[in-house]
Structure formats: structure tokens, C-alpha cells
Symmetry: C2
Subunit: 150 residues, 2 copies
Amino acid sequence: MSDLRHLEDFAAGQIFALGPYRISADEIIAFAREFDPQPFHIDEQVARNSLLGGLAASGWHTTCLLTRLMCDAVLTRSAMLGSSGMDEVKWLRPVLAGDVIIGEMLITGARPSRSKPGLGIVTFESFLTGQDSERRTELKGMVFVRRRTP
Amino acid sequence: MSDLRHLEDFAAGQIFALGPYRISADEIIAFAREFDPQPFHIDEQVARNSLLGGLAASGWHTTCLLTRLMCDAVLTRSAMLGSSGMDEVKWLRPVLAGDVIIGEMLITGARPSRSKPGLGIVTFESFLTGQDSERRTELKGMVFVRRRTP
């Protein structure tokens, strides 16, 4: 347990590198069939002729991949207790099949919870870019993290 | 194409019923292993002993299921062109294995895009509840929808 990152280990200004991760057409289609079955996410022919210029991942898929990369870099190494939500999700540009995404998670705050003793609130802003360094997906939110010394 | 719902068919105040959908332990674990591999989402033993009171779906999973229910009720029957993001995602209470979720999608606005001729912006607020009618997940966001008469 002591290896886990607790509230006291987080501070505004910390930056964690995320990725890289290469997204495939198969996983774009599988995710979209389950959660966001719109033609431009599941049909390569439709997608090529769309404004997106190719098979594009659901925005939710890119957000879930961003979450996974944050888990790998930070969250599953922390005494995490979930989240009550996110303040903003932005899908600025499409993530296409074959794209390699990387990103960053910036810690914007870390403070004890006023209502839950033993818990703290860590706020963050994170983003994904592609090979072109253009931002694709942005996320602002919070997670609950245990305090080492309540 | 004419069967599809266009911008002109949306108006503030419209409500679409979502679900019902029963969520299983297997799909909670499968989603979490891929996108949010935290112990309380993938280990039933850990989950039973946690504050959540049982195996709880990732908040992202509940948000993706809400999206799927919105697709089934409205979005895949509309001339949709994706979304640039969401304003707010709230995870108010956990969705546990075996819960049956239902929800509503409320249209809060429908207007032509100022920058993209031919396109409109439909804003919405949606939520999921469980059998107890308590709200679990809330979402505020927008989608782009084609205009019938640009």
C-alpha cells in the first residue's frame, strides 16, 4: 500500500507523460458497434467519403483511451477511489485508424475533501495529440485519492 | 435519407425515453480491463468490500452506455455529424452489476451553426437512473445535425 501515490504526493504543476498508443481500425469499429454505432465510426467506406477523411474513433473511445493512459501512468499506481465526474470533454480533431496518440496529464490542484475525511480531491487537465502534435481530445476533471495522514 | 431526423425536427423541450438496459458483471469487468483497470471495477472481492457496495461500472462505461441508449433512441435515426464535446459529465451514484438502467434525453436547444452552413447544433441534457429512480449518471453536451433546408 505504501507504494501507492496518496494525496500528499500530488501537487499542482506536476505533468505525467501519456502513451504512445496506436489505435487500429478493428478496435475503432468494435467500440463504436457497442457504444456509438454511427456510420462514420463503423463503415470504412462511409468514413472515407465523410468530412472526417477516414475511419474516425468515437469521441468517447478517444476519451476512454485517454483514461486508460492516465491509469497506466498514474491512476492505478495511486490510492484512487473513483471520481464524481468531469467538467469538460473536448473533441477537437478526429483520431483516425492507424494514428499514434500521445498525451499529457497536468495536475491542477490537490486538496483534502471538506466532506469526506481521509479523502482528497485531485484535479487535472489532460489531452491527446497525434503524430502532428495537434490536440485531438481534451479532458478536465477530478479524482478522489486517499490521504496518507488524515 | 428523408426518414432521418434533421435540425428542423429538433426543438427545446423534446424528451426521449432511454433504455431499459441490464448491465452484467462480465461487461463491467471487460470494459474496465480495457479502459479503466482499477481494482473496484475489475475485482468482485475488492468491490464488495469497498464503499461502492459491489462491482461498480466505470463512470466512463455508464457514460458510454448512456450514449448507446441515445443512439438507439434518437441519434442513429438522425442526420448526425458527431460532436465537438461535452460540457459536463456527472457520476452521482454507482451503477452495479445487475442494475437495470433507464434514462431520458432532454433537448435543450436546436439552432443553425454560425460557422458551418448546412449544419445545426442540438444541445441536450441526459441522465440514467436505476431501479430506485435515483440518478446515477448525468451528461450535458451537443451534437452536430444536418439542416434539411440550409
